[in-house]
Structures are given as structure tokens and as C-alpha cells.
């Protein structure tokens, strides 16, 4: 007995609706975020992550209301990411009922923001989201770089070094997305996941690419992730969280059933 590996459904929220695109295009409507969150809670989700994919000023209010409504009905940890740029953004989300916030571009722009946020709110609620893309060629030693703007903008920053730096500044968890795999349904980038997970002492959530249940197990066993995040396999009724957990348990992974 011990700590369970976590399954985290991710809800991409746009204008108060859950959506899911393939590599940021072809957005399909997947329902009301409150209803979707309640469904995943009943299925045994260990946490829920909301990603505000537009995150304009006006829509931020919509997101705050979504978090407030979910936090009054769903009593598991909630993370909110997307457009978190200031201490005030963090405070609003935590006050609305989020337990953690995901910081992405703002950390790239100003790494000290992560330190400031961790000092103010504690590392336990600061998740640094890393979007990484493979930049090494076939046959070369693996190398990944940080990309921003939904994978369009290279930064020249090495992903493994970046993850270590973020933890040193106070990140309590890393949400790692492979931009090569996101939306492809071909499984996690396991080399990337393992490289980051082995390099840092804090928990790593693997994200990007889940297309079948085995991918989740592989993320834990081969990628050494502490938690796995997926969206579309759960949104459109292909699988439930409970099925995913059962499948992981069958392969010897400790889960909360």
C-alpha cells in the first residue's frame, strides 16, 4: 500500500464550454464544464484540470464562475491553467476554489514570477506547465526545447534544464506536454516524460497524446510519471476514468479504485 498514481481528466474551456481540438484546430464541443467535472468525479478522477484556452480578460470572469460552481460540488483537487500571469490572477483562482494553478508562458517570460508565486501561495499550489518539442534529429541524442504560443514559438530553452530551474524556483509539480504528441492519440512522448521525471524531485504529470488506455499505463511505467492527464478519450465516451484505473491496476499500478 502507498501513494496512488493519479489520473487527471483535463477540460479545455472556451467561453464557458468544454472543447477539444486536435493540435489547436478542429474544436469540438464536449459539454458544460460543471456537468463534465461532476461526471469525472463520479467515475473516480483523482483531480481535475481546467485549461482556459482563450483566457481573455472578459472570459476570465467566466472561468472564475466555472471554478466556483465546480468547487461547490466536486470535492477533489482542482487545477486551473491558461493565462495565469500575475499574483492577482492566482489569488482569484484560489479564492474561487482552485487548489493549484498552472503557469506556462508567464514563467518563460519571467522565471522570477514562479518564485514570487511559490513564496506567496506555497509550492503546493504552483504547477509549472511545460510545452516541449523534440529538436534533435533521428539518431542524435534526444533534446527537447520549450515552445510557447501553442507550440508555434521556439524559445531555445532546453526542456530538462528548464524543468530543473522551475523546481529550484519553487514549482511544486510539473505538467509536461509534448507538443509533438498533443492531439495525435499516438501515446505520450515517453522519452521526454522519463527524462524530465527522472531529473526533478517533484511530481510530474504526463500530458499530450493519449489515444488508448495502454498509453496511460505506459506513461507511468515507462515514462516514470506520477500522474497522467488526458482529455479526449474521456470526453467523447470512449472510456471512463474507472476503466482506465482498472486497466492500470491490472498491470500492477497502484490506483485509487
Amino acid at each position: 500500500m502507498g501513494l496512488a498514481k493519479r489520473i487527471i481528466p483535463c477540460l479545455d474551456v472556451d467561453a464557458g464550454r468544454v472543447v477539444k481540438g486536435v493540435q489547436f484546430v478542429d474544436i469540438r464541443d464536449a459539454g458544460d464544464p460543471i456537468e463534465v467535472a461532476k461526471r469525472y468525479d463520479l467515475q473516480g478522477a483523482d483531480e481535475i484540470t481546467f485549461l482556459d484556452i482563450t483566457a481573455t480578460h472578459h472570459q476570465r470572469d467566466t472561468m472564475v464562475h466555472v471554478v466556483e460552481a465546480v468547487a461547490s460540488q466536486v470535492f477533489i483537487p482542482l487545477t486551473v491553467g491558461g493565462g495565469i500571469r500575475t499574483v492577482e490572477d492566482i489569488r482569484r483562482m484560489l479564492n474561487a476554489g482552485a487548489d493549484k494553478v498552472g503557469i506556462n508562458s508567464a514563467a518563460v517570460k519571467n522565471p522570477e514570477f514562479v518564485r514570487e508565486a511559490a513564496d506567496k501561495f506555497g509550492s503546493q499550489c504552483i504547477v509549472v506547465a511545460i510545452d516541449a518539442k523534440k529538436v534533435s534529429a533521428e539518431g542524435e541524442i534526444n533534446k527537447w526545447e520549450i515552445f510557447t504560443h501553442g507550440g508555434r514559438q521556439p524559445t531555445g530553452i532546453d526542456a530538462v534544464e528548464w524543468a530543473k530551474k522551475m523546481v529550484a524556483l519553487g514549482a511544486g509539480e510539473i505538467l509536461l506536454t509534448s507538443m509533438d504528441k498533443d492531439g495525435t492519440k499516438s501515446g505520450f512522448d515517453l522519452d521526454l516524460t522519463r527524462a524530465i521525471s527522472d531529473a526533478v524531485d517533484v511530481p510530474v504529470i504526463a500530458s499530450g497524446g493519449v489515444g488508448k488506455l495502454q498509453d496511460l499505463t505506459d506513461g507511468i511505467k515507462l515514462g516514470h510519471a506520477d500522474a497522467v492527464l488526458a482529455a479526449s478519450i474521456f470526453h467523447f465516451g470512449e472510456h471512463t476514468v474507472a476503466e482506465a484505473k482498472q486497466q492500470m491496476a491490472n498491470q500492477g499500478i497502484e490506483v485509487r479504485l
Binding site: 500500500m1 502507498g2 483523482d46 484560489l94 511530481p203
Partner: protein
Amino acid sequence: MRRVAVIDYGMGNLRSVSKALEAVSNKVTVEVTSDPSTILSASHVLFPGVGAIRDCIAELQRLQLDEVIAQAAQTKPFLGICLGMQALLTHSEENNGTTGLNIIPGEVTLFDKPVDAEGNKLKVPHMGWNQVEQTCAHPLWNNIEQNSRFYFVHSYFVSPADEAVIAGTSRYPEKFAAALHRDNIFAAQFHPEKSQRAGLQLLENFVNWDGQS
């Protein structure tokens, strides 16, 4: 009608805890407050907390809530959660050493590079759902199955001087105190307000508790 005071000293998110309390009972009024008289006139007191212990203790002292907590912890059903448990002890290693409220004698120490039986490094913070073994019968464990999973997120753990006050243990991988009890005090390292059914049951047991163990 029960009146639960949730102590507000500017540390973290108190909405979850108050919403969870409201969800478990329609016979309860929840007040999130830093007002000493409101806290001392409540029927039940909940002391939550996230973040760093130095800031926690400093804020309690600034708001003169340290004395209020000491008094409430002697007189009424009292529940400490996470940092609100750790702050009850004598001393913590966190922030280069911080003096606690010394309501329950003992030390708070860091998980020091934990390694599992196969030699794999375990991550710190200890984050996620772990099993809690109930080591005593207690009204707050009513209707909660032995070894139920609760949600934890912490890097430090408590070691009370008197092991008789341990109400539950978890492993990471060594056994540590996941819950404490003494008279009208109960304290949990995990977050019942984030632990779904088992956590809500514990909160329901708390609001129905008369403080007798």
C-alpha cells in the same frame, strides 16, 4: 444548529473547506473568520492551512489568534488540517526552524530523500491519494473504511512526542502520522475537503462530534 468557525489568517483557499462543510450538513452554519469572539463563541473550530509555516505562525501572532487557538483547542471540537495540524506541534524544521504553538508536543520534519523498496526515488511533496490506517477507534473515523485513501500534499510530517495521540498512519515509504487526536482535538495531515467521499464523511463526523473521544 452547529456553528463552525473556519479560522481565516490569510493562508490559502478557505472556500473549499467551507463549501465542503456546507455540503455535509444542512444543520451547520459556517463562518470564515479571524474575529476572536466569533471563533470562541462557535460550537466547532476548524484550523486549516496551506503554505509555509513561518508565515502561518507570524500571521496568527499578528492577528493575535495564537492565544485564541490555544483556548479553542482546550474547550471545543477542534479540527486542524494540513499546516493547521503541523502548527499545533512544538517545532518545525521548515523555514530554517520555526517555533509552533506547542499545543501537541512534538516535531515537524522534512521527508528526507525517500526511496521505495525497489530503490526508486519518491517525489517530494508527497502529493496525491494515500491510504490511512486508522490506529484507534474515534468518532471522526465513523463510517470510514479502514485504509481509505485521502488526498495529501505536503513535504513535512509530524512526529508527536507521545505516540498515543496518533489516530492514523500512512506510509511514504516509512510510516508517518497522518492524523492525531487528543481529547477534543483531531488533526489530519491530509485534506478531508479534497478527499471526496471519505473526506466528506470525516467532516460530517466532525460537525456531529461533541468533542468526546
